[in-house]
Symmetry: C3
Subunit: 368 residues, 3 copies
Amino acid sequence: MGNRLQDIVLVNVEETNSWRTYPVDLSKVAQPMDGDFTGKNFLCMEQLTSADINVYLTEADAAYQVYMDPSQRGINLLPFVVLTSVMRQESTRTGGSMTTAIEKLGGVGHLISGMKSSSEAKGESIPDSWVAFATQSDLIGTRTPEEWGPALAASAIHEAIDNQTLARHVPVINLGDGENQHPTQTIGDLLTIKKHYSGLDGLTIAIVGDHERYRAHHSLALGAAAMGMKIIAVESAVARMPQSLVDEVSASLVVRTEDLDSAMADADVLYMGRKPDEYKRKGKEEEERNRKLEKAYAGWTVDRARLQKMRPGTIVMHPRPRRNELHPDVDSDPRMRDVQQMELMIPARMAIIALHSGKSIIEAVQRS
Amino acid sequence: MGNRLQDIVLVNVEETNSWRTYPVDLSKVAQPMDGDFTGKNFLCMEQLTSADINVYLTEADAAYQVYMDPSQRGINLLPFVVLTSVMRQESTRTGGSMTTAIEKLGGVGHLISGMKSSSEAKGESIPDSWVAFATQSDLIGTRTPEEWGPALAASAIHEAIDNQTLARHVPVINLGDGENQHPTQTIGDLLTIKKHYSGLDGLTIAIVGDHERYRAHHSLALGAAAMGMKIIAVESAVARMPQSLVDEVSASLVVRTEDLDSAMADADVLYMGRKPDEYKRKGKEEEERNRKLEKAYAGWTVDRARLQKMRPGTIVMHPRPRRNELHPDVDSDPRMRDVQQMELMIPARMAIIALHSGKSIIEAVQRS
Amino acid sequence: MGNRLQDIVLVNVEETNSWRTYPVDLSKVAQPMDGDFTGKNFLCMEQLTSADINVYLTEADAAYQVYMDPSQRGINLLPFVVLTSVMRQESTRTGGSMTTAIEKLGGVGHLISGMKSSSEAKGESIPDSWVAFATQSDLIGTRTPEEWGPALAASAIHEAIDNQTLARHVPVINLGDGENQHPTQTIGDLLTIKKHYSGLDGLTIAIVGDHERYRAHHSLALGAAAMGMKIIAVESAVARMPQSLVDEVSASLVVRTEDLDSAMADADVLYMGRKPDEYKRKGKEEEERNRKLEKAYAGWTVDRARLQKMRPGTIVMHPRPRRNELHPDVDSDPRMRDVQQMELMIPARMAIIALHSGKSIIEAVQRS
């Protein structure tokens, strides 16, 4: 957190049972969008202005119309475009959503799920592996256990382009990098809020959970703040929103609390998240952290009774999968948006894929 | 067996190492087709009249023409339609066949094979998982280790529709549910018989194997009886056709025997099946059952000598994979239909996919 | 090595924990192409004349134009054609490349990776499994741990055709069979050389590595020799190019050496390859072999200093993944072609897929 686009970040990856550190120059791979997405990587929220986010959201609106219309169900915008989603942390959800998104645009999705690809098993380095994927893809999406793992992928590809060994540039989209960010999720999240409230500016969102390690919360805080939203971080003392992130978001937009009920009373949007157990580490301190966090999560369960704290007309979100954060007895409450949120990931990702491939769904719809 | 469409069935599923029971109201999810397949789930043979089965078969005939014509190989009927086949019991065969079927109709197939999806690994409930798949699919096929597992999928989706949280209805197709049924296999089986005999009414089919637990036999008995066929159940005392199934089929249509040779002499169709070892349970009684059943299967091997018992012009089927039930020396006998039967699964499933998506292959062919 | 197209080869495969040997008649499945590829299997380099190789290469040139043109990215030549790539040795690279190749031609790719398919787990024989795949595919590619495993697949399919049980013939493409050959890699390799030198006749290629067991080296030696190239086999005493292969290639075209530096000075093309550890066997002799081979590979590392031995204007290749054979500090050298070589696998495989499906990319481009 608190990285800036001019930073050099160090990416630690495991290669054939030994660890290696690669420096990645963000100024090369994480360029500001500034309204032009064509061919650029999408690695972190810091690349986006509110205008950029609005472009994603209006394209996603057009994608939504096409996607939901049973007489269309898709649009033939990206024929022969191959998107490879390399989920180095296993995923059927996000990977499947990317695959559906490219296919709804007339392209092709490849989904590779699991930590070890067979080439890594043959002793290949991670950068070599990314260049190899680039030779058989038009677009790469990836989820990695490492922070800035997708940036490392982009860096390897840029280097091969610089070396004039790789002929075609292949943009990389971050589908979740360790404890860092999950920016495509955030675009879908903001789309869900916009579907209900039309505008985002001035809304208050209460974000509940492990603010230290849950990546969807990190990119959401950045995205919400960029759109002028106020953030109530409902947190535990052992898993607070990093101060560097608060500073980046702007301290004036963030309120910290441990009191979920008062946050719900004030919020236009309640955003829950699961406890990210995949980042549990070893040692006594961690066990203590985990114990306390578990207790905090137990106290945050939203059921029908507690949901009465929220004003009518507000909405409740969760990026799923959920465990006990949302009791199933709230599923029929008209404020629930967690299922719609999953649905909207498709048009959100259609918009991202199209824009980074140099295409506009809005224009395509107008032409047709 | 012996379920009726108005029953509430209890579905037991394993979730993150604990078992849970969900009640599923069949009257909501397993509606009678009555000639209109659009948007309906296909969960069990009880949903079909003989007229419904005939619709599948005539659509499948049209699909077969398209599929086999090397200048066509497919038809662009369902562009942008995403079928996700979630094989919670591992399968390359049936899953691949569904995927080929949707792609031969111009749509897209996703195949997820293996018991644990990554979201289940993250602690998600089974109904939540089904709703998630629905948000990124137009059609779901599934094989489950549990009886009525696909009905549970349909139930979760219907509930999300009722809650107005899921915007698009997604039909569910049963690709085999535990020891219960395998209805798409049955449609392909009946198509294979019809290819040879033109009509099905009045034919005699000898079905050989574990009638207690082999799901393909269960749905075949129901489908064959619905089409007016007589059934010889060649069975072992330890694995008899359930009386409830006999009653449902109509006792007057079923003859039980342990004598394969006499059954072959009387049959127009011989239908073998493998021993379903995946349903072996623990305990002494089960070991005894297994021992006796193994002996029965050993006595049922059909080789070239035994095949002389069948009249010329009859046919021999097996839903594959086979073990010792059919000796390879019969492979060149002109009565063998086991390979064609696999081939016909594609047009049979093309027909099912098209009809449940509200499309007719016959009409599409006439228009083109 | 040294097989002839009239041989009967014995294929040993593991089935449900027991080994079985199948005889395969190459005269039936590995026919000479003689300019007509339609419907034929592509199993080994011996099927090709230099004229046949030139057809692949000129088709691949046309495929390359289409593939690299950002306004096209593909061509709709094989709609509804399903290519199933069954990688019985795990592979994301070659499997993904085949899948991209068919999709760039408007068809559909299925990728099955891993030794055990679920049907094999149900006790099915390997030939039965191949026939099953044929019933749901238009084209099969496969990588097998066994030599001539793809020929066994072809043989099973031919037998089912002969038995009149399988209605449609499905060609088989060898994507690497044990220690034998890797012919589609070789076509891509030759395409890479031709991109640089225009003609192949008279060029000298130095091939470095385990000449005994590395299949890409075997088919490359055959293909290079067929095109009139001279071969310097840079080898270790424990892993020499088999004499049968030298004889087949023609002894007059092959020079053996252990001295990489002198080979580099003489070569127009340097072709490195990784140590194929998947073929390590047990026993003392093997350990000794492995130790010596490891030492030889350590002495063959090509870094920036050593690369000065190569003349300017020459090229360096490696079929990737690499380990220490090519030091990353050579990646920016203008002679490196290892990345381009991966890129060119797509058009090479597009050409192969199109031709064996009875289509010409060149003609399609001219028509459009």
